[in-house]
Symmetry: C2
Subunit: 388 residues, 2 copies
């Protein structure tokens, strides 16, 4: 099984001697700049054609300043274009909770390193699900913050209108400590009053996954004073999925076009195919998707006023097997991305909470809230752990 | 500069002790099976997922039986999908006649090895120009035989309706010796009577290339008793090019689909893009191209009755620079493929003859003849060398 860390000289940068995270260790996905080390981006031709950074990424500096010690850079899907965590160049990190399954991606190595206990927390990125999905598959706490809230300086972008920096932890206490630092906000004691159960999302998941999550939903229900069922995506999760899978590859092509056209790099076939298809998206499709994004934002703003949270399965099933053929993989990937699309589309914060299992494999429950309610979502995750 | 041979344990298989090619050495493009050695196909994931062959390819066995000694396997563009000879996994073989230029592909290593004097002849494959183009760029004799004439057993296919096995040599005498063995036919003393000068092809080439080839055309004219000018492709070389660039990628996708879908291999972006676009060719386009192929075959059959040959530039210009960006490369590749498309489309034999230079860079003159006239074309090449 492959190490979650990228090959090369060891990376170890001590954190500040005093600070709220003193004593903690962390790793950073190989999309974050660490001064003096190449930013590999999960692809040998990316590393080769980009200069070695001279400054730490904002998120790395933030954790170092708070006292956490950087202990490694972690494997990512190539240029973050993947959701399963299988990288043919750097290897596929172990999912210790499901060793014959994928770890989930693209923040595969960060999730694997935390799940294996090799560090306390780890930085990832989430554009279309890249923190939430591996958190679900590896049984971790993981956050996709409100889009635009954190400084992304020094993080390799993919689709800027969807890109976020997130992080993982094994337990809610560590998750809350790290979140306080990253969000620069205390985790509140007060909890939300109202809960929306996204019935379309629970119906979209496999029945055994929905069934496995039921006790977590019941526990969550006990923390609030009012519960109702509603649709997350009235036009359909697949329609939102299609919109995100239009906007994101289109933007990814804009991001990587200059590099691809200059260097003609080696890429996994599915990644190159995605870029090729992204380059061919008609303007009419992109305009349709932009309108759907506006509607999705409006829907979530209406569903999630301050004081209301929403719960849904993070993924429609636990981690799938490794090395699926492309025809077998495509419907699996499509379903994962449909259930994650609202994140990149609307930019609302989401925390995935571990605690359920299907046939011994972890699967996460996600909590969404209003824009800016990130700390409240972390508080909910902490309260759920305390209630167990 | 990169060796023309693939990495790995040395390959050396002595030929039969007696035979018409005794004393000659040869190399085989890494698409030909050599018993006991992996057939790499120019891609690490191809080599890994295919068994080591237990028998030599027909063409390899043919040369060994005739007394030639195999001295190595040569670099190819990935799964033969390239025309410039730049392979990011195995490296780009040196073009000794133009060290800062590409060698041409996909039979890049075979052309490079012969041009460097590392062997006397070398096997290549030509589907859309993969022997003719490197022969032109490296200043070699090279043949694309009549489609369907030679046994292709043990040769990795690409687009079976266009695939052929060809070979290179530095001088016409060696070229004739090897051709006699491969074609199983004596090279005749009698020469063709009539010559067609393909005015559209000479017009399609760069003016300095056409000018550089003029003395060769004049010399060829002296060998025949009648000369006329005519069009190779009345609908346009670009129309024939489009037909070939429809049929060939469509067939290539059929050939590699099972492997690509099973293994999701690493590929150069341009190769993966070509396969992706090949997978998306509409049936209506394919049907149009099939009709155009029928017309091209009829045109060449009418132009080239027995006793008539046609001459044209092999390539529209000498070898282009290495490492062009994709936007700069695409028009270069398109023009090369337009001037080579008739080969894969119609299946007529063609020999590229060296002897011209543009700014010191080699460029070849091609001689085409009727189906089955391969030996006559080799005789013409020999007569041109003798007349110099």
């Amino acid at each position: 099984m492959t190490s979650p860390f990228v090959a090369g000289p060891p990376v170890r940068i001590p954190g500040a001697s005093h600070g709220p995270l003193a004593g903690l260790t962390f790793a950073a996905k190989d999309l974050f700049d660490v001064a003096g080390h190449p930013t590999g981006g999960g692809n040998p031709d990316w590393a080769r054609s980009n200069p070695i950074p001279t400054r730490h990424a904002w998120a790395v500096q933030r954790l170092l300043d708070a006292g956490a010690t950087l202990v490694g850079k972690t494997i990512t899907d190539e240029i973050s274009l993947g959701i399963l965590g299988e990288n043919p160049f750097d290897g596929t990190p172990l999912n210790p909770k499901a060793p014959d399954r994928v770890p989930g991606g693209s923040s595969s190595g960060s999730a694997s390193a935390v799940a294996q206990g090799l560090c306390d927390t780890a930085l990832g990125t989430d554009t279309g699900g890249s923190v939430r999905v591996p958190a679900s598959f590896c049984g971790l706490y993981g956050i996709r913050p409100t889009h635009g809230r954190l400084d992304l300086t020094g993080m390799l972008p993919q689709a800027p209108s969807s890109d976020t920096t997130g992080w993982f932890a094994r337990d809610a206490r560590t998750f809350a400590r790290v979140s306080e630092v990253m969000l620069d906000e205390a985790i509140p004691a007060a909890l939300p009053l109202r809960l929306v159960v996204a019935v379309d999302a629970f119906g979209f998941a496999d029945p055994d996954t929905t069934e496995a999550l039921r006790p977590m939903v019941d526990a969550l229900t006990k923390l609030v004073s009012g519960v109702r069922e509603d649709l997350l995506a009235p036009p359909g999760l697949s329609v939102w999925g299609r919109a995100q899978r239009t906007l994101q590859p289109y933007e990814a092509w804009q991001t990587f076009k200059a590099w691809v056209e200059r260097d003609n790099p080696r890429l996994q076939f599915s990644v190159a195919r995605g870029l090729t298809l992204g380059s061919a998206i008609p303007e009419s499709e992109r305009q349709w998707a932009a309108l759907m994004r506006a509607e999705a934002r409006a829907r979530l703003a209406w569903l999630l006023p301050p004081g209301t949270i929403l719960c849904m399965p993070t993924t429609p099933f636990p981690a799938p097997p490794r090395s699926l053929s492309l025809p077998a993989l495509e419907p699996v990937r499509s379903r994962i991305l449909c259930l994650a699309a609202h994140g990149g589309l609307a930019g609302f914060p989401q925390v995935s909470v571990p605690g359920a299992h299907v046939d011994g494999l972890p699967v996460g429950l996600s909590i969404l809230g209003a824009r800016g309610s990130d700390a409240t979502l972390v508080a909910v995750a902490r309260a759920m752990e305390a209630a167990r």
